[in-house]
């Protein structure tokens, strides 16, 4: 327990030192859900088409990309590019979806779109095998590396319980807006890897998460003041077993789903329910979602949300 206390002390000191930034952070927090025209729905769920088509439909229902991206914005699109695996394995976000999002960001007037992930496998291999590097570059995005600590900046997480500060990639820290684009997967430790778990690709020290209550740390990092303007869950294919890396195609289901929400807890709750149809996965097991709700990051109460369900 000594180690823990020591780490806590370090984290708290860090937090104290960065209190200057907190004022900024709090104001950002309150601003983050402000949009040009209030989104029509809290959550849009689409089924039955190609990833890019489903996104087009969903974003139109949300009032269009202009609702979230302003002219001149520096945007960061954060897919899951964790693994050296092909598209069919659903270990990474679908590149077609990323291409479409990048394109729409530019159409909405973004001055720059950056794409990155802190990968688990070798980043060069993951970027290329996933197809995301090529797809994003084709649409004009800047694909940047995330394999060195020097790319990460320390931010404080005053609301976190186990995680009081984290080093977050400068592409996110320096952006005006960011879009979180996870893929729906089973995860051996966290049970599910969706939008909240995708945050582990924006931080440097993932080992700290695993060593200090993984589920709580995932919830904690989601309190980072700069929230994504959109969470887009790619469930075109979902990995039902052996996640998050997967070992064979028998782990994958062609589910053709997509979920879009500004509320990360709502997005993950919806996606978890969707996943539950492929393999039993009660929400109680995916404890980082409820821990996130406790921290006030969002709501799991889908009943009281304005949800648009669409089939294509």
């Amino acid at each position: 327990m000594d180690r823990r206390n020591f780490l806590r002390a370090v984290a708290l000191t860090g937090a104290a030192i960065t209190t200057m930034k907190e004022a900024d952070a709090m104001s950002l927090l309150t601003q983050s859900f402000e949009t040009a025209n209030a989104a029509k729905y809290d959550l849009v769920a689409v089924m039955g088409a190609e990833p890019e088509a489903m996104f087009r439909k969903a974003i139109a229902e949300m009032g269009g990309m202009k609702n979230f991206i302003s002219k001149g914005d520096k945007v960061c699109v954060k897919p899951n590019i964790g693994w050296d695996q092909p598209v069919e394995m659903a270990a990474n976000t679908n590149p077609k979806l990323i291409a479409e999002i990048v394109k729409q960001c530019f159409d909405a007037g973004a001055s720059e779109v950056t794409v990155f992930d802190h990968t688990c496998d070798d980043w060069r291999k993951s970027y290329s095998s996933s197809g995301i590097e090529e797809a994003a570059k084709k649409e004009g995005a800047k694909v940047v590396p995330g394999h060195q600590e020097s790319y990460y900046k320390t931010v404080s997480l005053p609301m976190g319980k186990s995680l009081k500060s984290a080093k977050i990639h400068q592409a996110i820290v320096d952006s005006d807006k960011w879009i979180n684009v996870p893929v729906l997967k089973n995860h051996g430790g966290a049970q599910l890897s969706i939008s909240m778990k995708n945050y582990m690709g924006i931080v440097w020290d993932r080992g700290y998460f695993h060593a200090n209550d993984l589920q709580q740390c995932i919830a904690d990092v989601c309190t980072y003041a700069k929230r994504p303007v959109l969470n887009v869950v790619d469930a075109y294919r979902l990995m039902k077993t052996s996640g998050p890396r997967g070992k064979s195609l028998s782990d994958v289901v062609l589910s053709k789903g997509l979920f879009v929400s500004q509320d990360i807890i709502a997005a993950d709750t919806a996606a978890a329910n969707f996943f539950n149809q492929a393999r039993e996965m009660p929400l109680e097991k995916v404890t980082h979602i409820s821990k996130g709700q406790e921290l006030g990051v969002g709501t799991m109460d889908l009943e009281n949300l304005n949800i648009r369900r669409l089939r294509m």
Binding site: R3, A45, M47, D84, C120, D121, D122, R124, K125, K142, V143, V144, P145, H147, Q148, S150, H187, G188, G189, A190, Q191, R206, G207, Y208, F209, H210, A211, N212, D213, L214, Q215, Q216, K240, S242, G243, P244, R245, K247, S248, L249, S250, V253, S255, K256, G257, T269, A270, N273, F274, F275, N276, Q277, A278, E284, K285, T287, L302, R309
Partner: protein, 543 residues
């Protein structure tokens, strides 16, 4: 490289105008040699340095055409080619193919920039030294002590110099560019980590660089003609080559210019004799001669016998004399050395700490090394695999394989883990120590077996979720099973473990990891169940 840019008085004999064109052709020979050397040297060096796969993959043939690698790989095509090359043209291998040879030429070229009046002198051949070095190497190899071959093979030694000395400098340069470009928001260059791969190998590379460099600075190709076993072998063969550099007695006035330019110190101007066992066919002598008194030409059989049979014969005799006396001594000392090595190795492995901090007892060889014996027999420690591994998991061993396996490649998981689908080390290995694997074969190759120390596991002692190990496991040899409440805890199945080290690398338990890979003295083929793809249809949102 010798003599490039030196402006010496070039005065062809006016009386023999028809020689003019021949003279030009002779100088062309040197130009061709220099150009070929520079190209091959740059390519093989850059191939070692190139961490971004900018160079074509096929360039690993540059390592395969080296003599010792070809010999160990039993690459008959290359061996026949090198044999024919030497028997026809002389030691072109030493001049233009061997990177260590060209390294020496570069050093002596620089020495001439600093020492304006630098000149070489003819010296007697160090026959005893040469042949005993060769004999020692051969004997050591026969007794399974490949270390000496690896130590002295010029390609292997050069490879280590690049890997441990030039590569860090290259990476540092890349990082500098990376810093500059990144500050302008340009990600053409990305930063890479630089670290010491092995103290012993690095020190040895430094010594090699310094010793061979010093000899080259002083006396040109001394190393090639005293220590290098490849040089001695090819030198012996080149005595019988069809084309040779020869004195044209009627034109020669014994001025000694050629001898001064001879980096192999093999031209005896007084007696107008050339020691072909040391001549590396650099053509510097031909270029230096003002009287067109040196020619590279086909040797007539009869003449050759008359002029050279005596020294050639005496060399063979020397060899036998040396062998008889030295062989016993060498084999005896080597056996002692090996025994000592085994003892040291045993001490290392027996010195285990009974605590839960577990040290690997058996090292992990790269994928495609059938057994440690195979590795010991074939590997010359050129460290091409170390340089080329994209996951940075190969480094030179110290005493883990025993004394004879020093510097041979082993896997470690401090900086990464072995990529499941990657077969690069076997693809580039020029000696066949690491056999090439297909992706399918690699996926079924077991280099080591996973070991779980459950009391070190975070899920066990802290009762919080983790699963980092299973997350990285490509075959799910480490998989998560239900534990208390909603927790899952790792469970291992050694039978389907490939030993990639993903679990070990990523395990966040401190201070002692809860999972690690134990090596195997010989690698296994694992059977992976082919799971059927079941059609799962989801036709509702589920909420």
């Amino acid at each position: 490289m010798n003599g490039v840019g030196t402006d010496h008085p070039y005065r062809p004999d006016c009386s023999v105008i028809k020689h003019n064109s021949y003279l030009k052709a002779s100088i062309m020979l040197k130009k061709i040699r220099v150009i070929l050397s520079v190209i091959l040297f740059s390519l093989i060096t850059l191939y070692f340095l190139d961490f971004r796969d900018l160079l074509p993959w096929k360039l690993h043939f540059l390592a395969e055409i080296q003599l010792i690698p070809a010999l160990l790989a039993l690459n008959f095509f290359v061996l026949l080619f090198l044999l024919a090359l030497t028997l026809i043209l002389g030691r072109v291998y030493c001049s233009s193919i061997c990177p260590m040879g060209i390294y020496q030429d570069i050093v002596s070229w620089f020495s001439k920039r600093f020492i304006k009046k630098k000149k070489y002198n003819y010296s007697q051949a160090k026959k005893v030294l040469r042949w005993s070095m060769l004999a020692a190497t051969v004997v050591a190899f026969i007794f399974g002590f490949t270390f000496l071959v690896g130590l002295l093979d010029p390609y292997g030694a050069y490879g280590r110099m690049v890997t441990h000395l030039f590569r860090p400098a290259y990476l540092a340069g890349n990082n500098l560019l990376g810093t500059i470009f990144t500050s302008f928001d340009n990600y053409t260059f990305y930063k890479v980590s630089i670290y010491l791969l092995g103290l012993f190998s690095t020190l040895l590379s430094l010594i090699t660089l310094a010793v061979i460099g010093y000899l080259a600075w002083k006396n040109g190709r001394t190393w090639c003609n005293t220590v290098c076993p490849v040089g001695t072998t090819l030198g012996f063969m080149s005595k019988f080559s069809l084309f040779k550099i020869q004195f044209v007695d009627e034109n020669c006035n014994s001025c000694g210019l050629c001898s001064m330019k001879c980096k192999a110190s093999c031209i005896d101007t007084k007696n107008k004799q050339i020691d072909y066992s040391r001549c590396v066919t650099c053509f510097n002598c031909i270029e230096s001669c003002n009287r067109d008194a040196m020619k590279y030409r086909l040797v007539k059989q009869g003449k050759r016998k008359a002029s050279e049979s005596v020294p050639a014969y005496s060399y063979v005799k020397d060899d036998k004399q040396v062998d008889e006396s030295k062989r016993r001594f060498l084999s005896a000392s080597l056996i002692t050395g090996l025994a000592a090595g085994n003892l040291i190795a045993q001490e290392v492995t027996n010195g285990l700490n009974p605590k839960r901090e577990l040290k690997r007892e058996v090292p992990i060889a790269p994928p495609g090394v059938p057994s440690f014996d195979h590795l010991q027999e074939k590997c010359i420690s050129c460290h091409l695999c170390v340089s080329k591994c994209p996951s940075h998991v190969i480094k030179p061993a110290f005493l883990e394989y025993g004394l004879g396996g020093m510097m041979q490649p082993k896997l470690y998981f401090d900086k990464g883990f072995c990529n499941y689908d990657c077969t690069i080390c076997g693809d580039v290995c020029p000696t066949g120590a690491i056999l090439p694997l297909t992706r399918e074969e690699k996926n079924h190759t077991q280099m080591g077996q996973v070991q779980l120390i459950i009391e070190n596991c975070i899920v066990y002692y802290d009762e919080t979720s983790c699963g980092a190990c299973s997350e990285h496991c490509p075959t799910q040899a480490v998989h998560m099973v239900p534990y208390k409440d909603s927790l899952t805890i790792p469970e291992i199945n050694q039978e389907i473990c490939v030993g990639c080290g993903g679990c070990e690398y990523v395990c966040p338990a401190i201070p002692f990891k809860a999972i690690y890979v134990e090596g195997l003295t010989s690698q296994n083929v694992i059977e992976l169940e082919q799971e059927e793809v079941k059609e799962t249809v989801i036709d509702d949102f589920g909420f």
